[in-house]
């Protein structure tokens, strides 16, 4: 970097017009320096069981669209060179070709339909599969601008959530009569998942629409207020620290509505859960 910077900088001091281009080149160089360290130009690593299917589908589409683009691009370049204006050479007078129209209608139609069917199958697979019985239930309720998180206590069960009961005083909309909720504990902007164990999310919102987004989990779910989403589940395949981000514009603090998400070994999770002493009678969160 140093080598690159010095000669360019001295040149620009004399040639002001080049300043802009230099800045351009430097940023590019810096960006490329980053590539080697963190591969910032591409998908982040995937740590969710379902992420593999998402990535696979992504690469299928990337391949098909890539081939289509390269085809169109080179056909266009070829035509532009071959059929550029030359004196004495007239254009071909043709109004089209019906056979060609049929061909280039049906082939894309089949490809697109196949893609739609395959994509939909994958989606149904992700959504329809019921979470296994040993899944850890975790409730996450968004608010302007933070995440209320509720974990089950020793009984392994969350108190029942009712969307209509979500309010300032009762952010999780917990059914007060439900004994399962008594030993639950809550955190704020902090999530810990055990690795290798399915986690079932119960998502809700206190005020506006928020969205649960963790790129490394290939996971995104809008949380529309007035509803509890109970179909999202995941299984982390590797430990690590991630960031949970709100990805639906939710107001002026939206840009810093994020939480810490750690995936840890099961035992570490147990220790962490125990350390969060539940308050004596907790119906509500923060």
């Amino acid at each position: 970097m140093k080598l690159l910077e010095t000669p360019l900088m001295t040149r620009t001091s004399s040639l002001r017009g080049l300043a802009f281009l230099t800045a351009f080149a430097l940023t590019l160089a810096r960006a490329q320096a980053e590539i080697r360290e963190t591969s910032v130009w591409w998908l982040p690593r995937n740590v969710n069981m379902f992420g593999h299917d998402v990535d696979f589908l992504f690469y299928i589409i990337l391949f098909l669209t890539g081939v289509a683009f390269i085809g169109v691009f080179f056909a266009m370049i070829l035509f532009l060179i071959k059929y550029r204006y030359r004196p004495g050479v007239a254009a071909i007078h043709t109004h089209g070709n019906n056979a060609l129209e049929v061909v280039w209608t049906t082939i894309p139609a089949f490809i697109f339909l196949a893609l739609a069917i395959y994509g939909n199958e994958q989606w149904s697979k992700m959504r329809r599969q019921t979470p296994p019985a040993n899944a850890l239930p975790v409730a996450v309720v968004g608010e302007q601008f933070g995440w209320n998180v509720r974990y089950p206590g020793p009984d392994g069960q969350l108190g029942k959530m009712v969307a209509a009961k979500i309010s300032k005083e009762n952010p999780f909309g917990i059914e007060l009569a439900d004994p399962a909720g008594l030993d639950d504990f809550t955190t704020y902007n902090e999530l810990v998942f055990p690795v290798g164990r399915p986690v079932r999310l119960y998502l809700g919102s206190k005020d506006v629409i928020h969205a649960f987004y963790v790129p490394e989990f290939r996971l995104y779910q809008d949380m529309v207020p007035g509803r509890v989403y109970d179909f999202v589940w995941l299984k982390a395949e590797a430990t690590g620290n991630f960031q949970l981000a709100c990805n639906q514009l939710c107001g002026q603090g939206h840009y810093k509505m994020f939480g810490k998400l750690s995936v840890v070994p099961e035992l570490d999770y147990e220790t962490w859960a125990k350390s969060k002493t539940p308050p004596p009678v907790t119906m509500t969160g923060r």
């Binding site: 802009f20 351009f24 940023t27 960006a31 320096a33 963190t38 910032v40 130009w41 591409w42 998908l43 299917d53 998402v54 589409i61 098909l64 669209t65 683009f69 169109v72 035509f79 532009l80 059929y83 550029r84 030359r86 254009a91 071909i92 007078h93 043709t94 109004h95 089209g96 070709n97 129209e101 894309p108 697109f112 339909l113 739609a116 994509g119 939909n120 989606w123 506006v208 629409i209 969205a211 790129p215 290939r218 996971l219 995104y220 779910q221 809008d222 529309v224 207020p225 989403y229 960031q243 981000a245 990805n247 639906q248 514009l249 107001g251 002026q252 603090g253 939206h254 840009y255 810093k256």
Partner: protein
């Protein structure tokens, strides 16, 4: 005889208003050409406003004022301190609002629609000149209200151009009660202007075509505006109604969208996207039509598969109304519904593919002239292909879920709306400027403008695909607030620099545009040797357009007809068959397509 009635209707509509002269004509003229130019100048002005907003928000993304430095200091020395997070939200909200409602729609539909439709179909004016002028002034009013909202207490609307409720509908959540309310009023009025324009265009095209101008002899530019007008008429009222409901939620205590009082936030999304997806096609179809014509003119070839092009646009128009749900996959949609919307979204890619192949077919075997207009049209095709193909990712639900709210979709929409619509608009301006002002734009400046725009445009928007895949969310005021995005910051700065280059390149265009008004080469009637009716009259055409209503004898694309004296045959030139009987049978079948 049917032609006499047609003639009569043209006379009665086209010449019922007197010509307004002097400076007043630029305010009160009912002439469709003046109204078209009013739209052109106003929306080009808004283009620079919208672009300025874009540069401000890009600056904030590169050098966030909220950034905490490595040494603990708050703020970046290069940051603009007046861009706080709330103002940033207003910036991107209003950037999109201005570009969609005050720039792209008015340019394509207001400027080109008004200017070209009567001239291309051989009419003296629009069917309802007074409504036409009213539509323009309502549009100006909507623009004034939207921009004025920056200066009210709380600032302009900051809930995104999609204004999702309940953030938009409850002032305690958005903090921009007045700004958001004015947004509703501006959008409502803007919709009114669109609706007035739409039924005017439909009436004009159905009733006022010159004798012989059958539907399948109309240039594709007219076809595209015709179909667009129907989309406007069906989609815009839904947005207007939604905006009115949102206004009531904000100001009259109703709860259409607020779940706390029994409202339904998803109702807003359905209404908005029922408008919003056809809107995407509203903003691209007219550009597709113009580009089809321009490719044909400068390839000296008929449009390849003219009827297929028309049917593809009709198909896009129809399918455009049943794909809106793909914007809502992320809201937790029922699986049956998401399957249906997924399939319809994939299917709508088919007519787009058909159009692309036919554009290539038009180039094939041509005698291609690389004018600035042609370069922009070619860029349109290529960029639209990228924008269309990146849309496939969003049609596939599982992938959509991941990339939906990242910069990937920001890249996608800009490849369609800038790469598509704006290059289409530039192609249109370079093509019809000589007709509008009687002088040519400077080709050298034009090519420099094109080259810089094309390069900076791609440098700016292509890397957005990458940062999006890298996990960068859209609509965040400070990417450096996130650990996982900090490594992307150099790319963000690079994008911002490219955006600045893109913005400043447009001053070349501005210079060329205004300089050529006085100093451009005189254009003459038909500088491009094109075939359609606007090129048979003077540049600029006089009030009433045609001294004698033209009679149309052929389709819009008779270029390089074998045996013809020139490489183009005007639409009002009689068939050579009428003078030389021998060729009649042979020619008929070719031109019928």
């Amino acid at each position: 005889m049917s032609t006499t009635t047609l003639n009569h209707s043209i006379e009665s509509h086209g010449h019922e208003h007197a010509e307004v002269t002097g400076w007043r004509k630029y305010i009160w003229s009912l002439d469709h050409k003046i109204i078209g130019l009013q739209y052109l100048f106003t929306s080009l002005g808004f283009l620079f406003v919208g672009g300025g907003l874009a540069l401000l928000l890009r600056w904030q993304l590169a050098y966030p004022s909220t950034q905490v430095m490595a040494n603990g200091d708050v703020g970046n020395p290069l940051s603009l301190p007046f861009i706080n997070p709330q103002f940033y939200n207003s910036l991107f909200t209003m950037h999109a609002t201005v570009m969609v409602f005050l720039v792209v729609m008015p340019l394509l539909i207001g400027a080109f629609g008004n200017y070209l439709i009567p001239l291309k179909i051989g009419a003296g004016d629009m069917a309802f000149p007074l409504i036409n002028e009213l539509s323009y002034w309502v549009y100006v009013l909507s623009g004034a209200i939207l921009l004025g909202s920056f200066f009210v207490a709380g600032g302009a609307a900051a809930g995104g151009w999609t204004s999702y409720a309940p953030l938009s509908s409850v002032s305690a959540y958005n903090g921009t009660q007045i700004g958001q309310s004015l947004w509703c009023v501006g959008i409502f009025l803007n919709g009114l202007a669109s609706i007035m324009g739409a039924f005017n265009y439909i009436t004009t095209i159905v009733n006022m075509r010159a004798p012989g101008m059958g539907f399948f002899r109309m240039p594709l530019a007219v076809w595209s505006l015709f179909i667009t007008a129907f989309l406007l008429l069906l989609a815009v009222p839904v947005l207007s109604a939604a905006a009115a409901m949102l206004f009531l939620d904000l100001n009259a205590g109703t709860s259409f969208f607020n779940p706390a009082n029994g409202g339904q936030p998803l109702l807003w999304q359905h209404l908005f996207w029922f408008f919003g997806h056809p809107e995407v096609y509203i903003m691209i179809l007219p550009a597709m039509g113009m580009v089809s014509d321009i490719l044909s003119i400068f390839s000296r070839k008929p449009v390849f598969g003219y009827r297929a092009m028309v049917y593809a646009m009709v198909a896009i128009g129809f399918l455009g109304f049943i794909v809106w749900g793909h914007h809502m996959f992320v809201s937790g949609m029922n699986l049956v519904l998401s399957a249906a919307f997924g399939v319809s979204t994939m299917v709508i890619a088919v007519p787009s593919a058909i159009k692309t192949f036919n554009w290539l077919g038009t180039l094939w075997g041509g005698s291609i002239r690389f004018t600035t207009a042609m370069l922009n049209a070619l860029a349109f095709v290529l960029m639209f292909v990228i924008g269309g193909l990146s849309g496939i990712f969003m049609a596939s639900t599982p992938v959509d879920i991941f990339v939906h709210h990242t910069y990937f979709i920001v890249a996608h929409i800009h490849y369609v709306l800038f790469g598509g619509s704006i290059f289409g608009i530039f192609a249109g301006i370079y093509t019809w400027y000589p007709k509008m002002f009687g002088r040519m734009l400077d080709e050298n400046l034009g090519k420099i403008h094109f080259g810089l725009t094309f390069a900076f445009y791609n440098l700016c928007f292509f890397p957005m695909h990458n940062v999006g895949l890298g996990g960068m969310m859209r609509r965040i005021a400070d990417p450096t607030a996130y650990e996982h995005l900090r490594a992307l910051q150099p790319i963000n700065q690079f994008i911002t620099l490219a955006a600045i280059g893109l913005g400043f390149s447009q001053f070349i265009f501005l210079w060329n545009f205004f300089r050529s008004l006085r100093h451009g080469k005189p254009a003459g009637k038909n500088p491009w040797n094109a075939t359609t009716l606007e090129w048979i009259v003077a540049s600029p055409p006089g009030h009433g357009n045609f001294e004698v209503t033209p009679r149309v004898y052929r389709g819009a694309y008779d270029y390089s007809v074998p045996g013809a004296p020139r490489d183009f045959m005007m639409q009002n030139e009689p068939e050579p068959s009428e003078s030389s009987q021998g060729k009649a049978a042979g020619r008929k079948s070719v031109t019928a397509g």
